[in-house]
Structures are given as C-alpha cells and as structure tokens.
C-alpha cells in the first residue's frame, strides 16, 4: 500500500529536481525547475485558473446539492426514480459526458445555441468555448453537472439525521422557516458540507479530463489548470522534470485549501 503511493511520489520529487526529458534520466539540477517555473507567466495563469475552477465549482455544487437534498427529503410521487436520475451523472463516464457537452456548446448546430436562438433570447450563436470568461464558465458547468449529486447524497443523509422533536420544538417556539433552517437544521449539515467540500476540492483540483477535452486549456492558456499544464510540458514538450515540478508545486496550495475548507465548513 505504501509502496504503491510513496514510491511514485518519491520518484516524482526526485524527477522534479532533475533535467529529465522523455526517454532519458537527466541530472540533478536542484531547484532549477521550480525557479524556471515561478518565472513563467503561464504558471501564474494556471494557478489562478485552478483556484477559480475549484472554488466556483465547489460553491455551486454545494448550493445546488443543498437545493436537491431539501427537495428530495420530502415525499412525492416517483421520488425514487427522480433520485436515481439526478445521481446518474456522478457515476456516468465523465469523458463521455464531456464529449456530449462539447457538442451541446458547439456554435455550429449545438443544442444550447439552438435553444437560445430559437427562443429569441440571443440573435447569434454564442461561442461558449471561445474567448473571455465563457470557456471557464463552461468548464464549471460540466464539473457541476458531474458532481452536484455528491453533495446531494451527503446532505440528504445529514438532513435525515435532524431529530424531528427538535424541529417540532422550534415550530412551537414560533421560529420562522428561514430561522428554523439556519439555526436548527444547518448545524446538523456542517460535517456533511465539510466532507463534500473536501471531496469536491480533491476531485476538482485533480481534474484533468474535463479541461483537457473541453478547452485543452485554451484559448491562449485562459483555462489552463495546473494538471493540464503539467501534462503539456511533460508529455507534449517532453520536459519531464519541469512537468513533474509543475504537478508537485501545488501540493502546499492543495493542503492549505483542504485545511481551509475543513475549517470553514466545519464551523458553520
């Protein structure tokens, strides 16, 4: 078990200190790769994009997941079917889901543009994967589509753990619905929110497939995240050492993000 993870990780640390290329082992060059990296403007872009992508996706997933859980906590006809359908994207192959979204986003006969144009909401097709903030918004959309169900399941389980008599007591005491929710229900959800956030940050930080397939980091690095940057440097350009340094350099950021998430979500 330890060998399975520790060995590659140790090897990664070693590689990041060498000038290894694809096909040759390379020599020890100390912190040269990191020094090179921190002077690249594309690296700053990748860090910023990773932060935006992870934060926005996680917050939206938490919000929609809460909405989903609150609705599903009630009884209504076909509840089990609705439940199963809503959670389908989470187990569905994300690569395949992303390809379908790519076509939906397309400017040429893409589903979303067709709907918007024919509903007369816009006059011309929108380039969802074109320039500006839209490509990042598209990435976040696919990530949210895929991962909202995780929050939904965790929060639904947590909602079920709220004791009914405490809720009844709050009603008798005259607490309004919003107050009941924030003061009585929400504390019971905090650990589920924290866990969901940790898993979402972990999954989104490490995401590769969605970004690689949907935008490839483009246009002009505007949506490059650290993982796609490491992939491109190491395997497209062949600079294995620099690529590994890119991947490893986010470990401190990642750990800080996780601790922050646990603190914030755990306190609510």
């Amino acid at each position: 078990m330890i060998g399975v993870i520790a060995y590659p990780l140790g090897l990664a640390v070693w590689l990041s200190f060498t000038d290894a290329q694809v096909g040759e082992s390379g020599h020890f060059i100390g912190l040269g790769n990191y020094d090179y990296l921190f002077h690249q403007s594309s690296y700053a872009d990748a860090l910023r994009n990773t932060a935006v992508y992870t934060t926005a996706s996680t917050l939206i997933k938490a919000g929609l997941g809460l909405l989903m859980a609150l609705a599903l906590a009630r009884t209504f006809p076909c509840r089990r079917l609705v439940y199963a359908l809503l959670f389908l994207p989470f187990v569905f192959p994300i690569v395949i889901g992303t390809v379908a979204w790519y076509y939906l986003f397309s400017s040429v006969n893409g589903g979303i543009n067709y709907l918007l144009v024919h509903a007369h909401l816009v006059s011309d097709s929108i380039a969802w994967l074109g320039v500006g903030p839209l490509p990042m918004a598209s990435l976040i959309t696919v990530n949210v589509w895929h991962g909202t169900a995780l929050f939904g399941v965790l929060l639904l389980a947590a909602l079920r753990s709220v004791p009914a008599d405490i809720l009844d007591a709050a009603v008798i005491d005259g607490a309004r619905p919003l107050r009941r929710f924030t003061d009585v229900v929400l504390p019971y959800l905090s650990s589920a929110l924290a866990l969901g956030a940790v898993l979402s940050v972990g999954g989104t930080f490490g995401d590769f497939a969605i970004v690689h397939l949907l935008t490839g980091g483009g246009p002009a690095n505007e949506t490059t995240i650290v993982s796609t940057m490491a992939f491109q440097i190491a395997l497209r350009d062949g600079a294995l050492g620099v690529g590994t340094a890119t991947a490893l350099s986010i470990i401190p950021v990642y750990l800080v993000a996780l601790v922050f998430v646990v603190r914030v979500a755990g306190r609510k």
């Binding site: 078990m1 989903m68 609705a71 395949i96 076509y103 006969n109 893409g110 992939f231 690529g243």
Partner: protein, 280 residues
C-alpha cells in the same frame, strides 16, 4: 407562511427538481438523439437538432464494423474487472485490519489512507509514466491493471474501514471466546456482514476504472489496446473534425455497463457515497 399547500409544494419540491432534472438529463437526451440521426440530417442546419426525423442505426453498425470499438470495450472490461478484484482483495484485508486490530498508529494510518486517496492522480501520472517505461509496459493492459490500484486501494480501504467499523465487534469477540481464530472470525462473521459495503466498494471501483482517462491516455497509444474513453476521444475526433454520430453512439454504448450496474444497485452506490469516500 407557504405551508404544505399545492403551491407551497410546487415551489419547494417540483420546480427545483424539474429544473435540476432538465439540466441533468439534457446531455443524455442529446447523445441519444444525435446517435440515431443520418449523416445528412446531422448537417442539415435547417431542421431542429433536438429531434430526429428518420432514426437509423447506421452509426452503431459503423462503430462495430469500421472502428476498433468492440476491442476497446473488451480492453476496458478486462482492465476494470481485474484491477477491481486486485484492489478489493487488498482493501478488504487492509480495511478490516485498520478497523479492528488494535495496533499502534492504526488511526493515523487510517487518516493517512484518506489523505492518500485525496492525492490527485495528476501528481502521480508523471512518475508512473517513468515506472511504466522502465517496466516496458507501454501499450500493455498490465500498465493499467497495475496503476489503477494506486487510486482504487486507498479509496476502497477507506470505504470498507467505515463499513467494518459499523459492525458490532461483540459478534466477533463472541466467536473468539468460542475458540475461533481471528481469521475465522473475519471470514465467517465480519466479511459476510460487510457484503453490502464490499459490493458498494466493488461497484465504485469498477466504475472508476471503467471511466478512467488520464493513465489510459498516456500509457495506451496503439489503437488495439485503448480503452473506451481514450479510443472514443482520440479516434473518433480527427483534429477539428468530429464524427458526432459515431461519437454519440459510442458514448451511449460505452456507458451501458455502468448505467446497468447503477440502475440495479442504486442503493449500494448511495450507501457508498454516504460513507463519504467518493471524490467528485
């Protein structure tokens, strides 16, 4: 107060759920509709792309006769099944040991496994590429069977640890008092009781392997050894040219095993997610 009137229920339940359902299911509908369109209809921009006029199975036929899709499906199945079995075997032992045996540092190892699971594969793919090259396993299914456990084992162990902890340990202690060995107590009592958990772990491990993209993309370059996610995205897309009909047909077929498993075992999937082990 909105109360439980019809209007109140609509605002609280039906409208949010309907919106969520539409957005959730629209991509699936899009895949299905596109895969049944003829070539001429796909590129006829005068008709609505949201409907199909003359459904045809031509793309499915094409997929089976003109591409390596059947081979990709076979590869994906082999890799997913074998790596799931290997990971499950290791994880049942590790999960049981961490949940039950009192040795120093069991708790910190447990946390260590969770943190390990949170290590993104994006940190490991480059050193693993190095290892796979040293082992001369490029274009060999073993490359995937050996690397998938790096994320499957921590994940399954974490999930199973939770399930084993949920089984009252008095049951096994009673067996130990009656003269059973620790191994017998595990095999005869704990494992049978943990079957739902093991099933949940197996389902997720299979799904994660079936869907895996990054390692398969790097290690498998030869068309005949590709898995479905890699084959579909590399060989049905040529530069800017997308073969949408085949792509969507392959997308639907490629997700059938996972969808079938999911529809039969939805409760186990939910139990596994509630156990808090799955990244999203």
């Amino acid at each position: 107060m909105i109360g439980d009137s019809l209007a109140g229920r609509a605002i609280r339940i039906y409208i949010p759920l309907l919106l969520l359902l539409v957005v959730t299911l629209f991509p699936f509908y899009w895949m299905a509709v596109t895969s049944f369109k003829s070539a001429s209809e796909l590129f006829d921009f005068s008709v609505s792309p949201l409907w199909v006029r003359d459904p045809t199975l031509a793309w499915y036929q094409h997929l089976f006769t003109q591409t390596n899709f059947p081979r990709w499906a076979l590869n994906t199945a082999i890799v997913a099944i074998v790596s799931t079995l290997i990971s499950l075997f290791c994880s049942v032992l590790a999960g049981y040991s961490l949940a039950r045996l009192r040795y120093r540092g069991a708790d910190s190892i447990g946390w260590g496994i969770f943190v390990t699971y949170l290590v993104p594969p994006t940190l490991l793919f480059l050193p693993l590429t190095f290892v796979i090259r040293e082992l001369h396993l490029f274009n060999n299914l073993w490359a995937l069977i050996l690397t998938y456990p790096t994320f499957l084992i921590p994940f399954c162990t974490w999930m199973l640890m939770g399930f084993f902890k949920g089984i009252p340990h008095e049951l096994e202690e009673a067996a130990l008092v009656d003269g059973a060995t620790r191994i017998q107590a595990m095999l005869r009592i704990a494992i049978p009781l943990a079957v739902p958990g093991i099933l949940a772990a197996a389902l997720f491990a299979f799904t994660l392997s079936w869907n895996e993209f990054l390692y398969a993309l790097i290690f498998m370059n030869d068309s005949l050894v590709k898995t479905i996610p890699v084959g579909v995205t590399q060989e049905l897309i040529h530069g800017d040219e997308f073969f949408w009909g085949e792509l969507m047909a392959a997308a639907l077929l490629g997700s059938v095993p996972v969808a079938v498993l999911y529809s039969f075992f939805v409760d186990y999937f939910v139990a596994g997610m509630t156990a808090g082990a799955v990244k999203g």
